[in-house]
Amino acid sequence: MHDRRRVLQWATFARSWWIFDANHQCPFQSANRLCLFLEGKHKPIYHPLSDCGDHVIVINTKHIAMPDRFWRAWRHFHHTQYAGGFQVQRAWQVHREDPTKILKKQIYSTLTGNLLRKGLMARLHLFPEEDVPEGMLRNVSNQIRQVMPVPKTLEDYPIEERESFPRVFEWPEEYVVKDGKEFERQKEYLDEDLSLSKLQ
């Protein structure tokens, strides 16, 4: 092959770095999108045998949002290969031990199970918070779009916008708005659950 053409091929197969913010993102939908970038399926030159995947940095994995009841329902199985060595952990238990593990497991199972998978996983860099090493952040040349809109709390809106929000009706002045008792009752259930888990 001619020297000039050889160098052009380097440019085509150059590896780039991407960053993804997992704040309030569903890990299942995120995994589907991140796998595209790890496998190189976001490039028109994709071929399953040519190793054209990119590096992906994922930040804020501690703040992912599981859909529906999945914090309790999603289970992580592990067996030590010894008698009685079977373990089951719920998502919230796994997440408390290692905040990057749920996303990592999900991406691992979404990738195609072949000999390339180990190499692709090595190009995935997960961080529980936003503290990415500076040298790694300097490589980043583009960002992956989030999979779902990040919800805003009431406090995030400025007061003017809150005041001008259209209302169907106005509360009468003597009306007492419901206190936070319902929320406290839910919180008690949660605390019970947490204390049970500590016993285990």
Binding site: L36, K41, H42, K43, P44, I45, Y46, H47, P48
Partner: protein
Amino acid sequence: MVQLSACLLRKIPGPPRIYKRLQTFRLNARYEGRSRNCYVVGQGYQLKSMQYTRVARKNKVLDFKELYNLRLEAAAEEHGIPFRYLWDGLRRMNILLNRKVLQDIAIYEPRTFAGFCELSKQHQVDQGLNLPPHSYPKIPVNTKGML
């Protein structure tokens, strides 16, 4: 059956048997063991290999179609348009390029492919069809109603 004389009644010998055998040996030349040296053993291998190739001829087409779809989805997504919208737009504009040629263009002539994407977006807007909100053309293309 035409028999004009007694001498034509005799059994006419066909081509030598070795030519039929040589063909099998030639096809099985890459195999190991007796399958390439013995005709009787090699016959079965030859038959099976031909069955495999018959299936593979169809699967090859499907595999390539799957690969082209993956590549084209990636290529179209770079220009902010889902591939199914691009495909639909090109059909409507009577640009009848198949998947193989389109993916070749996406790799080797990327600016032409970008033009296809912008045209397709504009054409769908002109027709009053709904695009995804991020897929509208960045700079309006004046098609003068020619597409």
